[in-house]
């Protein structure tokens, strides 16, 4: 009995989630994709989707949970230097988790409406702010291609100004780092891991093709919720 308790505790003790539960800390888990890995082909290969979701996103989740646990420890101990030191890991891994969770919902297989232009109020707003959907696509493609290193290109809503914006963020910075009233409607990952196995060095081709599987329905829903 004692041995079993020990074994169980050891097995559980290795799990960050278990330790965090003990303390009432909310842990994060990798969300399921709302479609199969291969469902976005040929725009994005199944191999890319699988690695991107199972490896990259999982690593952000794991490291975000670890950092939050360390943060909790540090706060309980009143260890301010550690609290401050953890901010970069929280921003990077927490941002990675937030951004990818949105990204999966921004995509949809063609047979489920991927690539269908936005309708309703978001469609109007895009025409109003950018002239046309094509002009918006062109702007996001240019900004995404021009982003040095790793990062994201966003279509966001400034919910105070009731205005659409195109922004880029570096690394895993979420859109909110560019303004507290910004809500992401659509984020495109331009890290090399998002396209390299298929598009290699040609990021513009990836950007051109991703529009074929963009889920405008999701972006429209968020827009209508924030801007009724």
């Amino acid at each position: 009995m004692a041995l079993r308790t020990l074994v169980t505790r050891k097995a559980l003790g290795n799990s960050v989630a278990f330790r965090q539960q003990l303390r009432g800390l909310q842990t994060h888990t990798l969300p399921d994709l709302p479609y199969d890995y291969g469902a976005l082909e040929p725009a994005i290969s199944g191999e890319i989707m699988q690695l991107h979701h199972q490896k990259h996103h999982q690593t952000y989740v794991t490291n975000f949970n670890k950092a939050l646990e360390q943060l909790d420890d540090a706060i309980n101990k009143g260890d301010s230097p550690t609290v401050v030191k953890l901010q970069s890991a929280i921003k990077f891994n927490g941002g990675g988790h937030i951004n990818h969770s949105i990204f999966w919902k921004n995509l949809a297989p063609v047979r489920e409406g991927g690539g269908e232009p936005p309708k309703g109020s978001l469609g109007w707003a895009i025409d109003n702010h950018f002239g046309s959907l094509e002009a918006l696509v062109q702007k996001m493609n240019a900004d995404g291609a021009g982003l040095q290193g790793s990062g994201w290109v966003w279509l966001g809503l400034d919910k105070e100004m009731k205005r659409l914006v195109v922004e880029t963020t570096a690394n895993q910075d979420p859109l909110v780092t560019k303004g507290s009233s910004l809500v992401p409607l659509l984020g495109i990952d331009v890290w090399e891991h998002a396209y390299y196995l298929q598009y290699k060095n040609v990021r513009p081709d990836y950007l051109k093709n991703i529009w074929k599987v963009i889920n405008w329905k999701y972006a429209s829903d968020i827009y209508e919720k924030e801007c009724p």
Binding site: Q148, G149, Q172, W191, E192, H193, Y196, L197, N201
Partner: protein, 271 residues
């Protein structure tokens, strides 16, 4: 971009003294030289272009640790694009004819990057990277380099640990470096006019995207590219495996040793 609010000294002002770019570059203005009527005035001016240097070994020479496929893209596409885009950006500007190192220092512009910086620094970084590795590399350094590593890190193992950690924890794209540092302060742009003997030491640093330690006035000795394009075809998401392979199978300690020797000579000449 720099604004016209500052008086713009001629670019030669930055080039005449040895102290050169260690002073402020705030006044540098990024602009094209007017070239009207150039054709009528005589034959077109021949401008110096940077060449894409091939790595000092065949593209398949690092197999299986770094595949030919990776080399063909990394050198043949990425590195090539940095060089070609730089040449396009600088033709007819005040940067045309400057050394690559000087272009990097000027366009770093105290961290407020001017447009050619990324291409210039990446062109330099990749040249430096190809010469940091070799077929049958890895192992441990020897001689004075090893002595300094032991002096400044405690042991070779401790150095390797710090270097690997720097490479693994560079968030996003960037580079890990071993540098010879002769200035005192440990922040970018901190220029110490009178470093003492104890300021001279080996340190490990990391840099984001295209940035390299030349802009902090350090002497780079070794670098590892941790942009995903450097390893994705061979290692996918497993950056730590790429870093270990680099340390165990690829590093050219001969290159690092000769760079250290050159850095010490240059540092002594500055005093």
């Amino acid at each position: 971009m720099a604004t016209a609010a500052y008086a713009t000294p001629p670019i030669s002002a930055f080039l005449t003294s040895q102290e050169g770019f260690r002073g402020s570059t705030r006044g540098f203005q990024w602009k094209k030289i007017e070239r009207k009527c150039l054709r009528k005035a005589g034959p077109p001016k021949i401008t110096a272009k940077f060449d894409l240097k091939p790595p000092p070994y065949p593209l398949d020479a690092l197999e299986p640790d770094m595949s030919r496929n990776t080399m063909e893209y990394h050198w043949g596409k990425h590195h090539r694009a940095y060089v070609e885009n730089l040449n396009k950006q600088i033709v007819g500007t005040e940067l045309d004819g400057m050394t690559l190192e000087d272009i990097i220092r000027v366009t770093y512009n105290n961290g407020d990057l001017l447009p050619p910086f990324n291409n210039a620094a990446q062109a330099w970084n990749h040249d430096f990277f190809w010469e940091s590795i070799k077929p049958g590399g890895g192992g441990e350094p020897s001689g004075e380099l090893l002595e300094l590593i032991i002096r400044d890190f405690g042991s070779f193992e401790q150095f390797a640990k710090e270097f690997k950690a720097a490479a693994a924890t560079q968030f996003g794209s960037g580079w890990a470096w071993l540098v010879y540092k002769v200035n005192r302060l440990n922040v970018g742009n901190a220029v110490n006019p009178r470093p003492s003997e104890e300021d001279k030491k080996l340190v490990v640093v990391k840099s984001p995207n295209a940035v390299n330690p030349l802009v902090w006035d350090y002497y780079p000795l070794l670098t590892l590219d941790v942009w995903e394009h450097a390893y994705y075809l061979d290692f996918q998401n497993r950056r730590p495996d790429f870093i270990s392979t680099f340390m165990e199978k690829l590093v050219s300690w001969e290159s690092v040793s000769s760079r250290l020797e050159a850095a010490k000579i240059q540092a002594a000449e500055r005093e």
